[in-house]
């Protein structure tokens, strides 16, 4: 029998439907068409931030994990310290440290104010990008450390026995095997990162949550924009889960 057609599910679905209809009729939604352009821009910014920071963060996480496993002692220690610091403090604090802290230090150096970077450094988004990237790298670096350490030693020995150089072993065996091992956790990390993106609204970056705040301030409507944005985040989470499960099926996972 279809899982949706059990008697109690039909009743629950009807009740949910009634709730939605009630919310649609009794609550105030006339602002949606007026702000739809702004909302779409916000959603697009959220997605762009998510994809860039995850990609950059992952690129940073690979050396962070690798150095912790095989790097020279001081380097391994530094990478470990970075991951611990990122994972041990709230993202909001890191974000504000980078935005307000670095932002207040930069103007003290005339070299920076004269450089070509200054027009960018006066905007908020580079700080948001940096902070979210470092955060993702910190969490994912820890995952990659486990993944690198978990590749069976016999496989690496076999590669050495074939006369591969260290870099070749890394490129052909160690890195691909480690990434395969880290894949199942990647979806969870990406969803966590998606849920972290609204924090950048606190430093005036205009993404979907910031748009919601704008709407609430301009229309004095309290709940409706927050409910809509919750729904949007649920849809984005669902999309991410679907995309990842598609790719997980494509990747051959024998024993990882």
């Amino acid at each position: 029998m279809n899982i949706w057609l059990k008697p109690h599910r039909i009743v629950l679905l009807l009740m949910a439907l009634a709730l939605v209809v009630y919310a649609g009729l009794s609550m105030q939604w006339d602002w949606v068409p007026r702000y739809s352009g702004l909302l779409l821009h916000g959603i697009w910014m959220t997605i762009a931030l998510l994809i860039t920071t995850c990609a950059l963060g992952f690129l940073l996480a690979v050396p962070l994990g690798l150095f912790q496993v095989t790097g020279p002692k001081p380097l391994a220690f530094a990478c470990r310290g970075f991951c611990t610091a990122i994972r041990g403090t709230p993202l909001l604090l890191q974000l504000w440290l980078i935005y307000f802290g670095l932002g207040s230090l930069f103007p003290q150096f005339p070299e920076i104010m004269d450089s070509f970077l200054w027009p960018y450094l006066r905007q908020a988004w580079p700080y948001a990008l940096l902070s979210l990237t470092l955060s993702f790298a910190g969490y994912e670096g820890e995952v990659m450390r486990g993944a690198f350490a978990g590749v069976p030693a016999g496989e690496l020995e076999a590669a050495h026995a074939y006369g591969m150089k260290r870099m070749t072993v890394l490129r052909r065996i160690w890195l691909p095997r480690a990434i395969l091992r880290a894949l199942p956790t990647l979806n969870g990390e990406v969803v966590l990162q998606l849920k972290s993106t609204p924090l950048v609204a606190t430093i005036t970056v205009v993404e979907s949550y910031a748009v919601t705040s704008t709407i609430r301030q301009e229309t004095f409507i309290i709940y409706e924009p927050l409910l809509l944005i919750s729904l949007i985040y649920m849809v984005l989470t669902a999309i991410s889960v679907v995309i990842f499960s598609y790719f997980e099926k494509k990747v051959p996972v024998h024993d990882v």
Binding site: G88, W96, S230
Partner: protein, 238 residues
């Protein structure tokens, strides 16, 4: 030059140290309260998901799915306003005058509801990991459900639940920072206020970060001790 600035961290004014420590105390109180509330919700949620009827199971599935798919920041803002509104509506219905919900109570409620969804999943997994024979043995001794819970299920699931639950505690301490957005003076907010007043953002955010880090590292040490105690008599699975 930097050494002079450290005086700003002194405990007595003009130092801001006591403001930061007060914020830290607020953070820890909300995290502790919210964590306990979440644990309570989690215990009921886990049992509902495992042994409840079909309706309870579906409703709990909705609760955990929605909470885990929506950003904590949005949930906190939503529940913070909705919670105070609902309480005041109820009070008005009983003819009482509306009250200003204090930030601490609202914070504990909000963090608790968010944590509850995650602990439901952790505890459900832990209960399922108990070898079924142990629970069956308890039943065949004629234990009633409460006795079974107290003597078998809760102690037996603890070693499986501790890694997940300790992770949740660390998340709770960090999630309290989000209450800064609704104006509650916890550590992150206190740090920002100190930074804004003195224009020394960098110094204060580093100091605030070190306080959070100290909480995390101390918690980690405590968790390790707890793990060793709870896994006595279990085969070492590394």
């Amino acid at each position: 030059m930097f050494i002079d600035k450290l005086e700003l961290l002194a405990l007595t004014p003009p130092g801001w140290g006591s403001v930061l420590l007060h914020g830290l105390a607020n953070s820890l109180a909300v995290a502790g309260g919210g964590y306990c509330l979440g644990l309570l919700i989690g215990i009921f949620g886990a049992f509902g998901k495992l042994y409840g009827g079909p309706v309870i199971r579906d409703l709990l599935a909705c609760y955990t799915t929605i909470i885990r798919a929506v950003p904590e920041l949005v949930l906190i803002v939503l529940l913070f306003y909705a919670g105070s509104d609902i309480v005041n509506h109820v009070l008005q219905a009983f003819g009482a005058s509306p009250v200003d919900i204090n930030g601490m109570a609202a914070g504990i409620g909000v963090i608790g509801i968010v944590q509850g969804a995650y602990s439901t999943e952790v505890l459900r997994g832990a209960i399922k990991a108990i070898p079924p024979g142990q629970i069956e043995a308890g039943r065949s001794y004629g234990m009633d459900p409460l006795l079974l819970l107290r003597h078998i299920t809760l102690p037996a699931m603890l070693p499986y639940a501790i890694p997940g639950l300790s992770n949740l505690w660390l998340i709770a301490t960090k999630d309290t920072a989000l209450l800064a957005v609704v104006g509650f003076t916890e550590l992150t907010m206190a740090t920002r206020q100190a930074g804004a007043a003195t224009r020394e953002y960098f110094l204060f955010f580093i100091a605030g970060g070190l306080l959070y880090l100290a909480v995390t590292l101390l918690s980690n040490a405590g968790i390790r001790i707890l793990e060793r105690k709870a896994s006595v008599g279990l085969p070492d699975v590394g």
